[in-house]
């Protein structure tokens, strides 16, 4: 479905993403984790088209889309959410979602109907006619999800949709994400909430300092010494192992 081949992104002298490659199989949920500043969001912008890779390619359904504008990629079936939520603040919740729905529905009434349907699905039913700016953080995250979903994507890029939510809100939204996958949407998600990553993802990539340092099923990746060191610093893996033995 999605394949990133040796993507590199330089901002002047800074290499944000360095020769990163990853694959997301159709119908799967793939996780992208890594410490802060690793380049996860930058890698997402390369996939969604907001930035172009300095080197390397992005393939979607076998076609090279590295040079396509974001709206072309959306038409092809790639939708993204924003880590920092970007609601259309002056519009109501349902109008926000309808902008996404308009991608596949030209008529206003069709788009609004579709928007209400999607809104209810992600649990925004009671909020549909409220102003988007009146939503709580959890509500705004759901709105991001709903808008992206309303474009009827094949590939959904979720950039920390769970960040800032409390445990019960996270518990509520995990089944929603799984249900989206079960309908055949491929999902690639950046997530810090490990509970969700362990729960949802079949395959996880770990990005640190712009490089993919590990990949595999979540349980395996979490035990990988290089991953532990990327998060906790050099020597941490060794220390943890010792502590485990002592305990």
């Amino acid at each position: 479905m999605l394949e990133v081949q040796n993507a590199t992104k330089r901002f002047g002298g800074l290499i944000a993403v360095n020769q990163a490659s990853l694959k997301a199989a159709a119908g799967s949920i793939t996780g992208l984790i890594g410490p802060n500043g690793a380049g996860k969001t930058t890698l997402f912008t390369l996939i969604s088209g907001f930035e172009r890779p300095t080197e390397g390619r992005v393939l979607f359904e076998g076609q090279d889309i590295s040079r396509d504008e974001p709206h072309i990629r959306a038409q092809r079936g790639i939708a993204r959410t924003f880590q920092i939520v970007q609601p259309f603040a002056g519009l109501s919740v349902v109008e926000n979602i309808a902008v996404g729905a308009h991608l596949r529905h030209a008529r206003r009434s069709d788009a609004m109907a579709r928007a209400q349907e999607v809104g209810r699905r992600v649990g925004l039913g009671p909020e549909l006619d409220k102003s988007a700016s009146s939503l709580t953080v959890a509500g705004r995250k759901r709105l991001e999800l709903a808008r992206a979903l309303a474009t009827e994507p094949k590939l959904l890029l979720l950039d920390e949709v769970l960040a800032g939510l409390n445990p019960s809100e996270i518990r509520d939204i995990i089944p929603v994400i799984r249900a989206i996958r079960d309908e055949g949407v491929t999902i690639l998600m950046i997530e810090h909430v490990m509970q969700a990553v362990m729960n949802l993802c079949e395959q996880v990539y770990v990005l640190a300092q712009g490089k993919i340092i590990a990949e595999g099923p979540p349980a395996e990746v979490c035990d990988d010494p290089t991953v532990i060191e990327a998060y906790l610093g050099a020597g941490a893996a060794e220390r943890l192992k010792r502590e485990k033995v002592h305990a």
């Binding site: 709206h71 959306a74 993204r80 970007q86 609601p87 002056g90 529905h105 409220k130 808008r147 992206a148």
Partner: protein, 325 residues
């Protein structure tokens, strides 16, 4: 868009159409026609800025292009004024597209876009003031030849009805924008361009569409102005005054609403005329009223007169959702 959406427009236009039956004084008709021309200019601005969030400070570029095109085509080339009118509006659309293409493609927005539009209008003003084809500083006089096929009428009421018909047509156009995919995408661009892009909105195309429509509407107002006063010069056609008028009316009336520009133009110029009558011959007193009204509008009614009315009707509504008439 359904019939229900345009019933208020039909009612208001029909009501206004009866005005010349009751008032026949030329000064009043003059005032009404002028106000409608301002309303039409402002309606053009409102499409781009009110719905699209692209604040132009140079709508004189379109107004002037319409006015000069209407005047020059008939005076210099002998083209029928009605045809010149249509070409004038098309020329405004073209100028809109060009300015839009140059500035939007290079990613200009906010105050940078405002400055660039202002610069375009000023360049056009200086060019029109200097070139001999445009009559230079002396301007262009359209020959008085009162015949309907010449777009000149015995009665001012006829002109009023034509201006009103145009304003009505743009009211319908604006309502259509509000109810269409194009409008939804345009508003999305206004609210958050990055988010709109992510949802598959071709933001460049949408903005170009808006500025082209906007240019055509404002240029039509310019054509009408030239045809009514039968005289155009650079400071009238491309002067900053008309850019300011185009902005003031929607801000006072209700920015990004269908009726805002018309309500604002009537309120501003109505009040201006009344103070002129009341205060006698103090020069510039109407401008002082404009200024005070603008301050009051920005401070107490950021959604304009229409927003204020809506707030009185439903006091508990959040302000954010009130953008829709």
């Amino acid at each position: 868009m359904t019939l229900r959406d345009i019933i208020p427009i039909i009612l208001i236009v029909a009501l206004l159409a009866f005005l010349p039956v009751f008032v026949t004084a030329n000064t009043v008709l003059n005032f009404l026609v002028f106000t409608l021309i301002i309303a039409l200019t402002a309606q053009g601005w409102n499409i781009l800025a009110g719905f699209g969030g692209q604040f132009s400070f140079g709508h004189a570029a379109f107004f002037g292009t319409g006015a000069y095109a209407a005047a020059l085509l008939q005076v210099r080339l002998g083209i029928n004024p009605w045809v010149a009118f249509v070409i004038g509006a098309a020329a405004g659309a073209l100028v809109g597209w060009v300015i839009g293409y140059l500035s939007f493609r290079s990613g200009l927005r906010g105050s940078y876009f405002a400055l660039v539009t202002l610069a375009f209008a000023e360049v056009l003003r200086i060019l029109a003031n200097a070139a001999t084809f445009t009559g230079g500083a002396a301007g262009v006089l359209i020959k008085l030849d009162v015949r309907p096929e010449n777009f000149q009428f015995e009665s001012r009421a006829a002109f009023f009805w034509i201006a009103l018909a145009l304003v009505g047509a743009v009211l319908v156009l604006t309502r259509w924008i509000e109810r269409s995919r194009f409008g939804a995408q345009l508003v999305a661009v206004r609210e958050n361009e990055a988010a709109a892009k992510a949802l598959g909105v071709d933001t460049l195309r949408v903005k170009l569409g808006a500025i082209t429509l906007s240019g055509a509407v404002t240029a039509a107002a310019g054509c009408l102005y030239a045809q009514y006063f039968l005289y155009v010069d650079a400071n009238i056609a491309y002067g900053t005054w008309i850019s300011v008028e185009a902005i003031l009316a929607p801000i006072v009336g209700g920015i990004g609403t269908v009726f805002g520009p018309l309500v604002g133009a009537v309120a501003l110029h109505g009040l201006g005329e009344i103070t002129k009558l009341a205060a006698g011959s103090i020069p510039g007193i109407d401008l002082m009223v404009f200024g005070s009204l603008l301050v009051v509008a920005v401070a107490f009614a950021p959604d304009g007169i229409l927003g204020l009315l809506r707030r009185f009707r439903r006091p508990a509504q959040p302000t954010g959702a009130s953008r829709h008439a």
